[in-house]
């Protein structure tokens, strides 16, 4: 499993990578996961719905991440508002 984070000026960076079946690696993944949530990030797991549809699932704890998920993507939480109009 990979933990990725979107970053301005960079695109995504890999925060942590490991096998959830290996306790030590899972611990590292959990710590990295918590750090991002503590910083106010949202965490999403891209999924495949029945019929080939692609969706995402927002997760609030590592326990909610499906064990077979390949990656979790962290991104800044949504805030109302948008840049000035550029019509």
């Amino acid at each position: 499993m990979k933990l990725l984070r979107m970053k301005p000026g960079h695109g995504e960076i890999v925060l942590a990578e490991g096998d959830v079946a290996v306790p030590e690696q899972e611990r590292e993944l959990i710590e990295a996961f918590r750090r991002e949530l503590d910083q106010g990030m949202w965490a999403a797991v891209p999924t495949r719905a029945p019929g080939g549809r692609r969706e995402a699932e927002l997760v609030k704890s590592f326990a909610e991440v499906p064990r077979d998920a390949e990656r979790v993507i962290f991104f800044p939480r949504a805030a109302g508002g948008a840049p000035p109009a550029t019509r």
Binding site: P8, H10, G11, E12, A56, L58, A79, G81, A82
Partner: protein
């Protein structure tokens, strides 16, 4: 008499020009330098267009890996993504009563697919306050992916976080209507290619 006065005036003008020319040249050069310094100063600190391009390339790859081939092609060819609304009776899918258009760094636009009527704009941003390179703004395709993930995962929450406005507040309604026409044509052409 007139001729003498005219000649004197011409000589006076030439003399004044010769005296003022060095000062004028220095003033012009200084003005150009100031203007150039102002232009340099207006760029964000540490701004590197190469880095921004590489960031966008990475963001595009990530987006591509998360959405369907159809949606990726839509974004690549048209510059926006359509997401079917999921809160209606018919659920998320081509039968949905409403849908959204996601543009990079612009509000999400809700519309009725059947009629093309524009419903609302949802102004939402994903500012990264750590500003790693002096900017809190995600690459375009990351912004689109963040909206897509938030919409498909928890539409109600994203809509709740956004500022809702009537159509036309930030996104030109004519542009959206043109984009809907482009989208319809694009999908027909893809269907035709597939059928052939």
């Amino acid at each position: 008499m007139g001729l003498a006065l005219g000649t004197a005036a011409v000589v006076l003008v030439v003399l004044l020009w010769e005296l003022a020319r060095p000062t004028l040249k220095r003033g012009l050069a200084g003005g150009l330098e100031l203007w150039a310094a102002h232009r340099r100063g207006s760029a964000p600190a540490g701004y590197d267009p190469g880095r921004e391009r590489r960031a966008e390339q990475r963001a595009r790859s990530l987006l591509r890996s998360c959405v369907t081939e159809h949606d990726w092609a839509m974004y690549r060819d048209l510059g926006f993504l359509r997401v079917w609304g999921g809160l209606g009776d018919s659920g998320r899918g081509a039968d949905a009563a409403y849908a959204y258009l996601i543009y990079p760094h612009k509000p999400i636009v809700a519309y009725v697919p059947e009629t093309g009527e524009l419903l609302n704009e949802y102004c939402v941003a994903f500012p990264d306050h750590s500003k790693p390179y002096g900017s809190s703004r995600l690459p375009d395709s990351d912004d689109v992916l963040a909206k897509w993930m938030a919409l498909t995962a928890d539409e109600r929450r994203l809509v709740g976080e956004a500022n809702m406005h009537l159509p036309g507040r930030q996104v030109d309604p004519d542009r959206v209507r043109r984009d809907l026409v482009r989208l319809g044509r694009w999908e027909r052409e893809r269907d035709n290619v597939r059928a052939a």
